[in-house]
Structure formats: C-alpha cells, structure tokens
C-alpha cells in the first residue's frame, strides 16, 4: 500500500499541494484527476521522488521515503515503473534495447535471459517483431505499449502513468487502458494514473482522487462518481453535455 499523509509542496513560496492525504492499494488502478494546474503532475512527481516535498510523508509498504538511505532509495526506485506522457523512450536505442535497459542496469542476467524477459513483456503488451525497430518507426500507440513494457520489465510493485492516453485515438486509448488494468491485476501492482481522459476514468478508475487547487476535493470509485453530489467533481466531470446525459441515463437505470 502507498500511504500519503498530509503532503505539502510549494514552489518559490507558492503552495501547489496543500496537505493531501490518501492511500493507494495493491491490484487496483487508481486515478488522479483534476484541471490543469490543480497539482496532479506535481503530486505524481512527489510520489516518484522527482520533487522533494516540504511537509508530510509518503509511505511505500511501511517505508517512509524520507527516512530511507541512498541505497534503500535506489532499491525503492527499482520497484517503480513509470510510463511517461510522451513515452520517454531512448531515441538512439532499438525497442529491444529500450526494454532491456533496466535489466542491463540492475541485474546480472545473461543476454539470453534478458532477451527472454524482453520478449515476454513485449508479447504481453501485444507487440511482436519490433525488437530491432527504433522508437521513431512506431506509431504513438505502439510507443506507449513499449513504454509499458519497459515499465513492467523489472516486475515493479508500483506503476505510475502520466497521461498514458494523451495523443491517442479513442480505440487505441481503450486498448492502453485495458492493458494497464490487466497487468495491474496480473502483477498485483499499485497503479496510479494521472489522467484528463474521462473515458479512462469511468472505465478503469477503481479509485479516483480529484484534486482542485492543490487540495483533495473528492475521492471515490468510478461507480460513485455517477452518484456523487460533490459540486467540484460534478462541475469537472460533467462539464460536457455527453457526460451529463450518460450520468442521467446511469442514474435512471440504477434507480
């Protein structure tokens, strides 16, 4: 479990996160949503240790990030996988080398063993015969799948995704969503996704944390989001007519 307690972060005296507390559980796909500038990305970067927080604590399965020594930090980092918004694949490396990279850095496995693992995860994300291609030769959706493969190649306990659907067509976005949810169950990971995509939120958001102006304004599941009367989340999620109608239909059906 990841426990976030009273997380506070500021930049040049301007508070961006104002005392956020929540928990993220194993085997569940959790989503952080909110308007641009609400602090989602900063929150995710604090969880990843890319931003140092001023107050509060982040506890990974009983390990407080702040209390860990350098070696333990490195160990914890190796238990994390991250899918970046743009994929963040290394341009100069082939797909095989990209996915193999964490294995090369952190294991003493033979090349054959590493290759076997790479092929296993590439197959898991439904990518085959792309080993020798370069990232630029793949479509956006395929690049995202390679990024997911790289993120899970070390069998991480924690998977973080920053807007994994941005720039993808609706079909491909659904494929990526389903893939993330499936591997979360399969690997029993704690998955935290930062997203703007309301389809993803409704589809796979087993836990949703809604941030507004740096505070947690609402927390619940994708089922609860239909029923909630919380003004902040209703304004945000049901800003489009389509979603308003979807909500009406859902509420009528469940009456």
């Amino acid at each position: 479990m990841i426990e976030v307690k009273n997380l506070y972060k500021e930049f040049d005296g301007t508070p961006v996160l104002k005392g956020i507390s929540t928990t993220f559980e194993k085997g569940k796909t959790s989503m952080i949503i909110g308007q641009s500038g609400s602090g989602k990305t900063v929150f995710l970067k604090c969880l990843l240790g890319l931003h140092k927080h001023e107050k509060g604590s982040i506890i990974f399965d009983g390990r407080d990030y702040e209390d860990l020594k350098d070696k333990e930090h490195r160990q914890l980092r190796q238990e994390m996988g991250m899918v970046f918004q743009g994929g963040a694949l290394y341009d100069s490396l082939t797909i095989e080398e990209n996915v193999m990279f964490p294995l090369k850095m952190f294991t003493n496995n033979s090349f054959g063993e590493m290759l076997e693992r790479v092929n296993t995860v590439l197959k898991r994300v439904n990518l085959e015969n792309v080993n020798n291609k370069f990232p630029a030769e793949l479509s956006g959706g395929m690049q995202k799948r390679v990024a997911i493969a790289r993120a899970i190649v070390m069998n991480p306990k924690y998977l973080f995704c920053d807007e994994p659907n941005s720039g993808l067509d609706p079909n491909t976005a659904t494929v990526i969503d389903n893939l993330i949810q499936e591997i979360t169950k399969e690997y029993q990971m704690i998955t935290i996704i930062n997203s703007h995509d309301m389809n993803s939120v409704m589809e796979i958001g087993e836990k949703i944390v809604f941030l507004k102006n740096g505070v947690k304004a609402w927390e619940g599941t994708n089922k609860e989001i239909f029923k909630t009367e919380n003004e902040a989340i209703v304004d945000f999620v049901y800003s489009s007519n389509l979603f308003k109608k979807v909500r009406e239909v859902y509420l009528n059906e469940t009456k």
Binding site: G49, L50, R77, Y90, M105
Partner: protein
C-alpha cells in the same frame, strides 16, 4: 540567474558526474558510443580544416616574406609553430566546440524535454553520471589524438599549398619544419587540448541538462553552449599560455 549561480550549479553538476558508474558494462558501452559520436565523427571536419588552414598559413607567410634577406625555410618553420602552438589546439577546439558542443547540448536537452532524463532518474540511475562521464572520458582520450593529427595535417597542407603553387621549394619547407623542433611545444598543445576537451564535454552538457521548456529552448541552450564554450576556451587559452610559456 546570475553568472555566479550558474558557475556554482556547474560545479555541483560535476560533483554528481564524478561518481562511480553504477554498472561498468553499461558505462563501457556508453564510452565506446561517445568515442564514435564525439571523436570518430569529428575526424572528417578536423582533417579537412587543418589541411587547408595549414595551406593558408604557409601561403600567407610566403606572400609576406618577400625580402631576399629572409630565408625561405622560415615559411616551414612558421607554419609548424603556428599549427603546433595555436591553430591545432585552440582553433580546432573552437571548431569542436561548435560541432560537438551543439551536438551534446541538443542531445541532452532533447532528452530533458522529452522526459528521457526523468525516466533515468525514476529508475534510480544517476543521470548525470550516466550521460556526462562517458562524454568527458571520450573527449579526454580522443581529442589529443585529433589535435596531434591536426598538427601533422596542417604542416602537410602547408607543404602541398606552397610546393604546388611554386611559392617555395620542397627542401626549404622540410628544412624549416625540422629546424629547432621543441617537443615541449607539443606537450603544451596537448595539455591545452586536455583542458579544452574537458570544457567541450562539460559546458554543453550543463546547458543541455538544465534546459527547461521545449524545442525552442533546446535550440537556445545549444547556441548558448557553443558561445560559452568558445568564450571559456579563449580565456583559458590566455591563462594557460601565460602559465606554460610565460
């Protein structure tokens, strides 16, 4: 940010760079890649420029030495001294600052804006050590060899330029380049090159690593990297010359 802050941040960066590589096999792989990217791929331009610069120096000297009291072998002597003392180490380093400096800065800067550096950090990799140390070692190892080659080719270029145009005789030129050959000058040039190689590898890395924004900022960082690398090379050239020859 003022200049002092940049200088401080640069030295803090170096502290992170000079740490033990996390995996020697990966470091070795990166090192060979950098030797190719920063060294071998610069071979062509260094060969081309040094050959023709040597030719121009020889022709200019020959055209300015028209007094019958000045021996013709001085053309070879002057070309050799110019190439060894200044043109090869300093001029070629400025060329490398432009070619390699912009490459380093833009490649690291692109990695920064496309979150590839964040990806390294998230994995628990010391990104500065992983990206910059192999560049420094590759430059320190390869650039003295490039500069020695530039000296040789510059002198050969002078020979061909003068002899083919009939400005001087082959024997005079060869006598001139052998005259008063001081090996300390070569050592001096190599010492300067080692310092410049360090500057060429680290200043553009600094500009690329700390870039913020998008592709436009990467372009700006690349330009700044070349400008500052050239300025530092020129300043260090002055101080090193004072220290080593003064």
């Amino acid at each position: 940010m003022n200049y002092l802050e940049h200088i401080g941040k640069y030295f803090i960066m170096l502290k992170q760079v000079f740490k033990k590589p996390q995996k020697w096999s990966v470091f070795k792989e990166m090192l060979f890649r950098e030797v190719e990217d920063l060294g071998l791929k610069s071979l062509g331009i260094i060969t081309f420029i040094s050959f023709f610069v040597g030719g121009v120096v020889a022709i200019q000297t020959a055209l300015n030495v028209d007094s019958p009291f000045i021996p013709k072998y001085l053309i070879g002597f002057a070309t050799k001294r110019s190439m060894i003392l200044e043109f090869a180490p300093t001029f070629m380093s400025i060329i490398l600052a432009g070619k390699v400096g912009s490459y380093i800065s833009s490649s690291i800067g692109t990695m920064r804006v496309t979150e590839q550096i964040d990806a390294l950090d998230v994995m628990g990799i010391n990104s500065l050590n992983y990206l910059v140390l192999p560049k420094i070692i590759a430059a320190l190892f390869f650039y003295p060899l490039l500069i020695l080659l530039a000296m040789f080719l510059g002198i050969v270029g002078g020979y061909f330029a003068g002899v083919l145009t009939g400005l001087f005789f082959s024997e005079d030129y060869i006598y001139g380049i052998q005259l008063d050959f001081n090996t300390y000058f070569v050592k001096y040039a190599v010492i300067k090159t080692l310092v410049f190689a360090f500057v060429i590898a680290t200043i553009p890395s600094y500009h690329g690593y700390y870039v913020k924004g998008g592709s436009l900022e990467v372009g700006r960082a690349s330009t700044q990297a070349v400008v500052w690398t050239s300025v530092v090379i020129i300043l260090l050239n002055y101080f090193l010359t004072q220290m080593l020859l003064g």
